[in-house]
């Protein structure tokens, strides 16, 4: 095929173009022609199609995402908000922290190892592009049923990919989630989070300014990886009849990425860049148009100067390529030589591919011929916006009416029955120990990991002199969100917020990864609208702004969508990491207090799922004022040494929390059911706004006084003691028996 230049496009206005195959709608194609005043060239069509895809343009979701800005709480901590590669938060002492959670769902289903690996690679480059040193990763994962044969294919590959890439990169994996539910059978969710740290003055932005400044592409050579991947993957539901649309898989090279990190940080250290952008989905199309769009002028690129791995690539393909481990920087001419020298030091390929111009157009040349001539904003930031129709699903009322009452789902009435259910829940794949998975990840590298595996949150020290630290927790309960998307999204935030506070850190801001089905289904769109509304309202109430994140739509097979699954990551700061609170009951004789109120709430609970295979009713109620108060108490108690252990109560309720804290600490507990309480409700309810804490006897008075003064219900429920969990008058179960039930479950399924 001959080169489709701008001149050629002007001369052949009626040439047929494959806009539909590239995922564009007729009116979108018409709009491109209107913007350009002619038909687009092949390269322009490629750029628009990929940048206007759902994945890049957020065209279905952005009318709802607006709320995150409109309802944004006042926060002095926000340094960079939504719209950049990742948000940046002030954590004090001159430090800034950037973090973001993103999805890599579809690629991980097709090729689990590489999909998950490149998911890590992508989020790490996002963080790096802000000017930060990446310091930790986390992976919230959702799989189909644990015993389904395809889960055996998908899970080990994804876990190996996360480990293979993250371990080789030298980033500690400090937590995450593993959830099984048959709704994710054909659509596993692989979300990846990265945290990075920098000084305020090191913040970098993705913008190209200053005419004459050079555009440098550096990192891996460009190959035919995932051409059309973003557009096709994110816009189309899997459909076996269209295998041709499945893109080539991108292969990650963590060694190259490690060099890219060290090289980029050295370049930042010498203040050699004006603007920087990583190459992720939509590759050079995205990087050049976003840099130019956010900058002050235009940009000229000589595409034939790009280092290629496959020399047969056409200009369209080079623009679309999603080859990994590449970055694009804007550098003043006088600093180019030093920039290239540092790249050479790190064995990183780099070259100037263009420059910033004083025009307003993004112009791309191929061997001297103009093949792209567009206003960059129309590509990057002024894509289509859809008001997708949405409506409360017809089945929602029936689902909510199917409440898990005692009449509907038989509850245990004897001590033996309670014990049997406790063991059943603790040994269910969702509640069982995930050590077989987390032991495949390096949690020690960098030497700053304070809390990780099996804790409520992951915590990292960021200053060895002052002991300043940050912590992150991710949560999201698709079952709750299915029952009530508004409340479910709020519960996701509330739980992550509580998890951060339980470790002793003050929640500052959030990032979210919104995993939903097809936006073309009004039921799904209603779930999305409700969940975003709930999340925005809750962020306002808790004072934690959204810093950024990602939306993953079309997570469905045929007509069946996944449970709506907003995953919320909360970032917190702790002034002194030596004051952190772990979950383990480590000291005999310490007093156990249950904080918060326990109601008869079983909708979406682990117990109803494990024991009855039931999903119905309403999720637990949310009281954000209570969450905030509980958080303040947990943070104060941790700082002032009033508690030695804290565990948030969520899936599986108090019973599950006790199992985990006892096993982690190697000590049992004697529990006394409070006067008038129903032991079943006490042990299995999933009421929100609760935690269990271990209080040294010497601190009991002070702790109680604080709770009373602040109006937080605190009930003494027992004591750390012995080598069994003893619920007095009901049952006793030895730690050995608990361990037997709780561990080995995942190994047995996946080895």
């Amino acid at each position: 095929m001959s080169l489709d230049t701008v001149k050629n496009a002007e001369q052949t206005p009626d040439a047929a173009q494959p806009w539909a195959e590239l995922g564009l709608k007729q009116d979108e194609y018409a709009r491109i022609r209107e913007i350009l005043g002619r038909r687009p060239t092949g390269a322009e069509l490629a750029m628009y199609s990929v940048m206007w895809s759902e994945h890049c343009s957020y065209k279905s979701s952005k009318v709802h995402l607006k709320q995150f800005s409109e309802k944004k709480p006042q926060s002095d901590a926000m340094l960079v908000g939504i719209g950049e590669n990742a948000g940046v938060v002030d954590v004090g002492q001159g430090y800034a922290v950037t973090f973001k959670v993103e999805s890599h769902n579809h690629p991980s289903y097709i090729e689990p190892y590489q999909g998950a690996a490149t998911g890590i690679g992508g989020i790490v480059r996002d963080i790096l592009a802000m000017g930060a040193r990446p310091v930790a990763v986390m992976d919230p994962l959702r799989f189909g049923a644990a015993d389904h044969p395809d889960t055996r294919r998908v899970l080990p590959g994804i876990v190996a990919g996360i480990g293979g890439y993250g371990n080789c990169l030298g980033l500690p994996n400090i937590g995450g989630e593993v959830v099984f539910d048959s709704c994710y059978q054909g659509n596993p969710l692989v979300n990846a989070l990265c945290v990075g740290v920098m000084k305020h003055e090191d913040i970098h932005l993705a913008q190209a300014s200053g005419a004459g400044n050079k555009v440098i592409l550096y990192g891996a050579r460009t190959g035919g990886d995932g051409i059309g991947g973003v557009s096709v993957l994110a816009s189309e539901t899997f459909d076996d009849t269209k295998p041709a649309k499945r893109p080539a898989v991108q292969v990650g090279d963590p060694f190259q990425e490690k060099l890219l990190i060290e090289c980029t940080l050295e370049i930042f250290g010498e203040k050699l860049v004006k603007g920087i952008q990583d190459l992720g989905g939509a590759g050079l199309s995205c990087a050049t148009s976003e840099l130019a769009s956010a900058g002050s002028g235009g940009m000229r690129i000589d595409l034939d100067t790009v280092h290629l791995r496959d020399t047969t690539l056409s200009p369209e393909e080079i623009l679309m390529s999603e080859s990994q481990e590449r970055m694009c920087a804007i550098v003043e001419p006088g600093k180019v030589a030093r920039f290239l020298e540092i790249c050479e030091k790190w064995d990183v390929i780099a070259n100037v591919i263009g420059e910033v111009t004083d025009g307003e157009r993004l112009e791309i040349f191929w061997h001297g011929e103009l093949v792209v001539d567009v206003p960059p904003r129309t590509v990057a930031h002024e894509g289509p916006t859809y008001q997708r129709p949405f409506a409360r699903p017809s089945w929602q009322d029936a689902l909510q009416a199917d409440a898990p009452t005692a009449e509907r789902l038989a509850r245990p009435t004897t001590g033996e029955g309670l014990k049997a259910d406790l063991l059943k829940v603790a040994g269910s794949p969702n509640q069982a120990s995930k050590s077989w998975i987390t032991d495949q990840y390096d949690r020690y590298v960098l030497g700053n990991t304070v809390l990780s595996v099996g804790e409520d949150s992951g915590m990292i020290r960021i200053d060895e002199e002052t002991n300043l630290g940050v912590s992150v927790a991710t949560d999201g309960n698709g079952r709750y969100t299915k029952l009530d998307p508004y409340t479910g999204a709020q519960l996701a935030l509330a739980e992550a917020y509580r998890n951060v506070a339980a470790g002793g850190a003050k929640p500052l801001a959030i990032s979210d990864c919104l995993n939903f089905g097809s936006p073309e289904d009004p039921d799904v769109m209603w779930q999305f609208a409700e969940a975003t509304r709930g999340l925005a309202d809750a962020c306002l109430a808790l004072g934690t702004p959204v810093t950024g994140g990602n939306v993953s739509l079309y997570n469905q097979t045929g007509e069946v969508a996944i449970h709506p699954t907003p995953v919320v990551a909360v970032l917190g700061v702790i002034d002194d990491v030596t004051r952190r609170t772990p979950v383990a009951f480590a000291e005999e004789g310490q007093l156990l207090y249950l904080l918060g109120d326990t109601a008869d709430e079983f909708g979406g609970s682990a117990w109803s799922e494990v024991v009855h295979g039931h999903l119905g009713g309403l999720p637990p109620k949310v009281d954000l004022e209570r969450e905030r108060l509980l958080g303040e108490i947990l943070i104060a108690a941790s700082r002032d040494g009033m508690i030695d252990a804290a565990h948030d109560l969520s899936d599986g309720g108090l019973g599950q929390a006790l199992v985990e804290s006892c096993l982690k600490g190697g000590h049992g507990a004697r529990i006394i059911v409070p006067e008038g309480a129903d032991p079943f409700v006490l042990l299995f309810s999933e009421s929100a706004g609760r935690a269990v804490v271990a209080v040294p006897r010497s601190e009991e008075l002070r702790f109680n006084d604080m709770c009373t003064a602040r109006g937080l219900p605190a009930t003494r429920i027992g004591v750390v003691d012995g080598d069994s969990l003893d619920v007095q008058g009901q049952f006793t179960v030895s730690l050995a028996e608990l361990k037997d039930a709780h561990t080995g479950v995942i190994e047995a399924l996946f080895i």
């Binding site: 371990n167 080789c168 030298g170 060694f255 060099l259 032991d439 020690y444 590298v445 030497g447 030596t578």
Partner: protein
């Protein structure tokens, strides 16, 4: 005069800063060494840190072994300079033939990260004299290719000469022959260790502080030398 301990950074080294921290906490001065630089900058000892040098793509340690810095390290090691190879560094030492045997894929076929109990078998090397023979310690272990293998004859020789430095206790995490976690050369100045003592030097971030002894040992060795 403070003792200077060099820590080599290869492309893909990951635990280099951690090794430097451990050296510092032990009371010595850490000196960063670069793989392309033959000059050891007057260091008294060298640590080859953990990581995935060159991605471990050919064989672990196989490409690093030919780096300029290793020429000098090998030369100095033969003259008696204390050299500790941790994890990937152990692999580099084996590829360099400073130590016998090889490290291969874990028998589980999975990367393993765990708090590992070890027994110090030889407390006479440059890197273990602060321990006592038979002492049990817990330090992190994290590797995908940590299974120590060697010919029976070589294993017998190592045992007979007391050159097994540390052995895995309770769990053999990677299938290493004879539960070997670390070995030394005949002179006792070169030690290779698969587990990571540099991650057990602070109570806040490690399971114990029992790894610090490797770094304090070399200090005493050098001061007494």
């Amino acid at each position: 005069m403070t003792t200077r301990v060099g820590v080599v950074t290869f492309p893909g080294s990951l635990d280099d800063r951690d090794a430097q921290r451990a050296v510092r906490l032990a009371g010595a001065e850490p000196v960063a060494l670069w793989h392309r630089d033959k000059d050891l900058h007057q260091v008294d000892a060298v640590v080859l840190p953990g990581g995935f040098s060159y991605g471990d793509y050919l064989r672990c340690g196989a490409i690093s072994r030919f780096s300029p810095v290793m020429e000098t390290v090998i030369e100095q090691a033969k003259l008696g300079m204390p050299v500790l190879g941790i994890c990937n560094g152990f692999q580099v030492l084996c590829e360099s033939h400073l130590l016998p045997g090889a490290l291969t894929r874990n028998d589980s076929l999975h990367f393993a990260c765990r708090d590992q109990k070890l027994r110090i078998e030889n407390a006479g090397t440059a890197w273990t004299r602060d321990y006592s023979a038979g002492q049990e310690i817990v330090v992190p272990l994290k590797n995908g290719e940590g299974r120590f293998v060697a010919a029976e004859r070589v294993l017998d020789e190592l045992e007979a000469e007391g050159r097994v430095v540390a052995r895995y206790l309770e769990v053999n995490p990677n299938g290493s022959y004879r539960d070997i976690a670390g070995i030394t050369n005949a002179a006792g100045n070169v030690v290779g260790l698969m587990p990571h003592p540099e991650h057990a030097v602070e109570p806040l971030t490690g399971p114990t502080t029992e790894g610090l002894g490797f770094f304090t040992s070399v200090l005493k060795q050098l001061v007494n030398a």
